[in-house]
Amino acid sequence: MDTSDEEYVEPSSVPKEHKAKKRTNQENTGYSWEDEYQRTWDIVKDDDSRSLEAIIQGMIEGRKKKIMKLSTSPYQRGIIRTMVVIIDGSSIMSEKDLRPTRFSLMLQYLQEFIVEFFDQNPISQLGVVLMRNGISHVVSEVNGSPQYHIDKIRGLRSRQHNRFEPKGDPSLQNSLELARSLLKYNFGNNINDSKNSKEILIIFGALFTSDPGDIHETINSLVKDKIRVKVIGLSAQVAICQELVTKTNHTKNSNYGVIMNETHFKELLMDCVIPLAITKDSAPKVNEEKVPLMKMGFPTKIQPVTTSNLEPLHFCACHPTRGSDDTKNVVEIQSNVSNIGYKCPQCFSRVCSLPTVCPVCGLMLILSTHLARSYHHLVPLSEYKEVPKNDEGVYDSQWCFGCLLKFEDGLGSSRYKCGECKNDFCIDCDVFVHEILHNCPGCQ
């Protein structure tokens, strides 16, 4: 065991603009331990004029309204990003400087990150690796479904106090090697760097790594494989992480951040939603105005006819032959053997998973549902407006158009009208329609 990489760097190297930004939006800022002690009962101010129920009702509605995000401005989404997120599950993650614990908060933010990541990068894939007790575990395999990852993270969260409590030392090398093989199996070569980027994001709570071998070798292989690494430190800068980030990104840019408090943690994490390729430091924009047009194929999903027990063997064009030189290069990962495949519409090769670049003809292959994930940005749904009483001092509608819920009288309007179809909706439908569905049920 080689634990020589323990170097402490003061968190003063946090980018200056982050601090400046913080100061302007909030009066009460700084490290989370400087915060005033918070008591949940302080916020409920007893007001004789309104019942407690009404206050809570108002609070819930206010919160639901507030969390509805503004639609983001469009930018280039047509990049297949494959990202492996390495999370720290070593014993230091049970520290309580982030509430309730570092580990718990990290998992919570990670869930939100996954939602946002797939929202902004619809044709990308993600995987999650956990460093715990010296070895690394695959939490979720590289996959393009946000729901799959969220389920896995939720599973981890629910077991964080028994089977998966933070334990032992982290090993960056083990995790990086695992991440490297995950990335490699999904995207062997960079046929076209502008279409395709391989990234690793590390959320690192510890101040050292305990590795079985020479981590510098691993860093060199990452550089060779053109995998770029970003690190978010939860306590202080560590020299080995700095080296990792600098070498794999070929620049000394801001891909290594150390958090100051919960909000800053979230900011750093959400910054990773934006593709690295278009961050301001790298790749100067050639054409400000002109955007590339991509040729894509929409393959047919081949699924076995379930009535027969005799399934012929299938060969795919994407996985290397077992025992060939390519498989010796990385840690082998058993992938789920599945009968489901996709057929390239141009050359009819079979591939195992999407999105990908056809290994035979180079056509980008993707499911139309991947692209459609971002379409709600194209036609943003206008906000519903709170309904005032009509001239007789009553409301026109009695129940919600979407869910048939009867509107309660007495607690404000609680009705929100669609400007297009003039139907009234309850607050739950309003939030659901704008946050999740992105369709007005009355307007279709």
Binding site: T29, P212, K266, P299, V433
Partner: protein, 382 residues
């Protein structure tokens, strides 16, 4: 090295076990005049509705707490046939007189002796169904596009309410308080509600029955519905009557783990309903489900509306077009396309050649597998 080589998969089982939790079944029936006309020799809409009522009653009889909803997607718009809040209120007002006739003075459509729960549903659906048919007859038939996407949206908003019913009071209140605490001290965590907590016990599924052969579904809206259903874990089952497969509904079923069947001969439709579509989503993983085809994940061209297998995609808004427009501009977001790239895309044989020059050596030496340009032996740590 041993530790690296360990194939340590942390498989966390999240699949739920089959249980007796109540279940909501939402039916969507598409009332497309052309579609039903085309299959008039095979079946009639009345036969299908009758079968669907039996199906609903079957679902209700499985569990006391089971729920049903019936939505019609008519060219005049999508709307609920059941539940009907108007009717519920009438019934509350006069539970006894209701036995004799409904408010329109028409004698009851179903037998009075029927099990009360069934009767309420059947009567409600049939009454409203007749109204919808009459509305459709009166309406001018200028706009007869499919409103199926709206019906799916309605089904999901209703499902959302049912899913949230149990948990809303406890969890939302708790999180409202905790987030308000944070706001009051200036630490804005902005907790997103879009992550589904999955605390509810009611299960839900949607069944779409449609004979519509025109692929005139609003593509974007339907896709949005599919993603919402995915998030909520609501399978969308599809019974496609008529002559053709519906590629978009196939995708809807496939993406949500639903069952898609193209039923060309709907004679004995109840058989299909009571077998394939009757299986609860929680036990579907244990059963070999019927499917009849490969799923064609074709997309819809934004300009022509035709489905495409190989198309062009704007890298800003990701809209799909089947041909490059004359103006070289994206029809949706108005971005100017890069002419160099378009020129490359247009010269097809040259693209092939370029591939050989740049990547040819690499590909041939590796037998076409994905590999880095310079394979290196693994660094072997001790």
């Amino acid at each position: 090295m041993d530790e690296i080589a360990d194939n340590t998969f942390t498989e966390i089982h999240t699949a739920e076990l089959p249980n007796d939790d109540p279940s909501l079944l939402t039916l969507i029936l598409e009332l497309s005049p052309g579609g039903w006309f085309n299959i008039k020799d095979e079946t009639t809409i009345l036969d299908v509705v009758k079968s669907l009522l039996v199906f609903l009653n079957g679902h209700l009889s499985l569990n006391n707490a089971n729920q049903v909803a019936f939505i019609i997607s008519s060219p005049t718009g999508a709307k609920f046939l059941y539940p009907n809040p108007q009717k519920e209120m009438d019934e509350l007002r006069r539970p006894e007189e209701y036995e004799d006739s409904n408010e329109m003075g028409i004698p009851s459509l179903v037998s009075k002796g029927m099990y009360r729960q069934f009767r309420i549903v059947d009567e409600g659906v049939l009454e409203e169904f007749n109204k919808s048919i009459n509305e459709l007859v009166d309406a001018d038939n200028t706009n007869i596009t499919s409103k199926l996407a709206g019906a799916v949206s309605l089904a999901l908003t209703y499902t959302n309410r049912m899913l949230n019913l149990d948990q809303s009071i406890s969890t939302t209140t708790a999180s409202a308080i905790s987030s308000a605490t944070k706001e009051s001290t200036g630490v804005n965590t902005n907790t997103s509600s879009s992550s589904y907590q999955g605390l509810t016990r009611i299960k839900s599924r949607v069944l779409i029955v449609t004979p519509n052969d025109n692929e005139d579904i609003k593509y974007i809206s339907l896709m949005n519905g599919i993603f919402a259903a995915q998030k909520m874990k609501v399978p969308i089952d599809v019974a496609k009557l008529g002559k053709k497969d519906s590629s978009y509904l196939q995708q809807a079923a496939d993406a949500t783990n639903g069952i898609y069947l193209h039923i060309e001969k709907p004679v004995g439709f109840i058989q299909f309903l009571s077998t394939a579509y009757f299986i609860e989503p929680s036990i579907r993983s244990l059963i070999i489900l019927p499917t009849n085809s490969n799923v064609n994940y074709r997309a819809s061209c934004f300009i022509t509306g035709k489905s495409v297998e190989i198309g062009y995609v704007c890298s800003v808004c990701l809209c799909i077009i089947s041909e490059i427009p004359e103006s070289m501009k994206c029809p949706t977001c108005n971005s100017q396309f890069d002419d160099k790239i378009i020129a490359k895309l247009k010269r097809k044989p040259v693209v092939k050649k370029r591939k050989l020059e740049n990547g040819g050596a690499e590909v041939s030496s590796d037998n076409g597998t994905l590999a880095p340009a310079t394979p290196e032996p693994t660094p072997v740590p001790e």
